[in-house]
Amino acid sequence: MTIADMVRVLNAKVLRGGDKLDTPVFTACCSDLMSDVLAFVDEKTVLITGLTNPHVIRTSEMLDLKCLVFVRGKIPTEDILDSAEEQGLVVITTKMTAFSACGLLYDMGLRGVPVPTAWDAEGN
């Protein structure tokens, strides 16, 4: 699927990067905890989040993420969006909750990025 498919399924509004909607996507992660995203995500993926501070964009920049999905209709400030655009990130917003957005995207074939869990470290 492509980012354009995500926009359609989530009934989302494209905030930045409208020229890159044909980018293919295979995986996603959903988190408001940037510490976890930085620690566990190591592929160019999609981040679904309810956090709209500048560190979401900086985290995305460090990890070369492809697309940011803001849920519950959240929209970051213009300067944050501009810095996302500078990096070539696609930014979209949907009125859906994170739970519903993830469910619909999973149903469409998007899968979670493989991440180690706390259980792995304990050998469970």
Binding site: L33, L38, L51, P54, T59, M62
Partner: protein, 142 residues
Amino acid sequence: MEELFRISYPVAAADYSSAGKASADIKRRLKQLGVGGDVLRRVAVASYEVELNLVIHSEGGELCLTVFPGAVQLVSSDVGPGIPDLDMAMREGYSTANEEARSLGFGAGMGLPNMKRNSDEFDIKSKVGTGTTITMRFNLSA
């Protein structure tokens, strides 16, 4: 070893809005120097984590990038307060971050372990009342 490039960035304590700017610049400069792929991502993540740590925990410090022919080195040094228990600090999930850092999505106790995981060599020295120095090296594949 011969230094090809060196740059230092001052990092102010509690300057949450600027946190990450040095790391973004480091990433851009390394990219210009032809560093890419997995190693660039690892340097960027470790740099951002260590820069955040300077902002969240230190009383101010600096982040220094040095590029050698076969490696990239990041050194973070601060003027305090120092870490009383390094073993605890290196543990995943252990954090002394304040509410402001947590509200921004950080302070989950992943920073130091994540720096260690992303770097090829990791060294941390800390003395309470003096400060902390973290040295990380990343090997560049030929």
